[in-house]
Assembly symmetry: C2
Homo-oligomer: 251 residues x 2
């Protein structure tokens, strides 16, 4: 196989409520899996508070480093929703009322009901394109490689669905997991050698503890080519047998 | 009340498996709440891959910025467990077998069973103190303000319990939540003014959507002094009444 084409992403979760433990994030796991399906690797995630300087610095740091940046949270109508303003500041542009967003709100609200607070949700950095919201109307937006979405998982997932097909992925990582009751402490050295001999395949080792007291380890192999994974899997299975253990059938 | 003493923390979650969505992190919410109880504010969280350069850079960036750094994950015996080596590199010191950790392993294993892989779990950066593991034995460690723990929530929680009482918190943030069916779009402007007039109290606004179709918003007030929270709460309740709405009893 030719060199692996790696396309990377970073998720920026904006919200004091996630840091305090009040709200449990569900967006990282969703996006990690969805992006992998299209060949994009979630490479970092940051949870940041509702503080302008922290958010602006994080946006500028990660948008230079990764191919795609996704943000969730902080795009509602209240004073603590500052993601749009922070993205504008990070890009050095002003906010404006996006004409398409204005239309979306005027389809739903009489102009007299469109107060200052609701108009805030129509604001995007100048130059941004809207991300439509098929769930609850107020849109997100895309500014260069930064995709700004709602924090509520159902809304975020709806927004993601509207642009998922436009993302350009690289080689999709496939994976195979080999579970065994062999001890991680016995697997370590041969696994390390295996990784050294096959640097193209990512070899991960995840210990598990069962309710019945059983312990063991799941060896995960990741590579874009399943035939290559299966080759290395044979070596993993052989070293499990060398330890007098078996591969476990986890159904 | 005198000036608020703010003590900050950052959580660094190490692991490809959290980024890929394969494993859902449960440590941020736990630590966010536990730390708040002792007056330490979780101020940022980063999920980083099993890559040395990313981890080392992140450690050095956040340990300079926050009072306490906690890491979870990457301290097992296999080649993909590189947190200890990364902390050593970030601090510019070597790894060594920590004498106390050696004792812990020799209490459990015959010296002949202590292979290279298991000894890896006894390694800490030179100068680190052990964090004991009351759940599954292999210890974590503390290097200056960086606390290195296991990723498995039950083990992490056990480790945290061993040093929680030694952490020095600031003023503990108390909170009060005021739920209402008022619309966030109507609350926005008066809430913004309220925040401006009471900058010492953090005012958060969290919309909710009920299964029965009801919508509304929870206004959260945070401050170390409950009497101060209650003062501002009166203003919040008054503005809800001004909108012809009521505070909802959520039991």
């Amino acid at each position: 196989m030719a060199e692996i084409k790696k396309v990377t992403a970073c998720l920026l979760i904006v919200g004091d409520e996630v840091l305090s433990g009040r709200t449990k994030d569900a967006n990282l796991a969703f996006l990690g899996m969805e992006l992998n399906e299209i060949g994009i690797r979630m490479s970092e995630c940051r949870v940041v508070p509702d503080e302008e300087d922290v958010i602006v610095a994080a946006i500028n740091e990660v948008r230079a480093r990764y191919d795609y940046i996704f943000t969730t949270g902080g795009i509602g109508p209240t004073h603590d929703d500052i993601t749009a303003a922070c993205v504008a500041k990070a890009f050095g542009v002003e906010l404006h009322r996006h004409p398409e967003a204005v239309e979306i709100f005027l389809e739903h609200y009489a102009p007299k009901d469109m107060n200052e607070t609701r108009w805030k949700m129509a604001e995007t950095p100048i130059g941004a394109d809207l991300i439509h919201n098929p769930v609850s109307r107020p849109p997100g937006f895309k500014m260069e490689n930064v995709y700004v979405m709602a924090g509520i998982p159902r809304v975020m997932q709806g927004m993601f669905g509207t642009f998922k097909d436009t993302l350009e992925g690289g080689d999709k990582l496939l994976s195979r997991t080999i579970p065994t009751h062999a001890k991680e402490g016995d697997m370590g050295k041969p696994l390390k050698e295996l990784q050294k001999n096959h640097p193209d395949v990512e070899i991960g080792s995840y210990p598990f503890f069962q309710a019945n007291g059983g312990t063991g380890v799941r060896i995960a192999l990741r590579h874009p080519d399943m035939a290559r994974i299966d080759e290395v899997a044979e070596d993993v299975i052989a070293l499990i047998h060398d330890l007098g253990e078996e591969v476990v059938d986890e159904g």
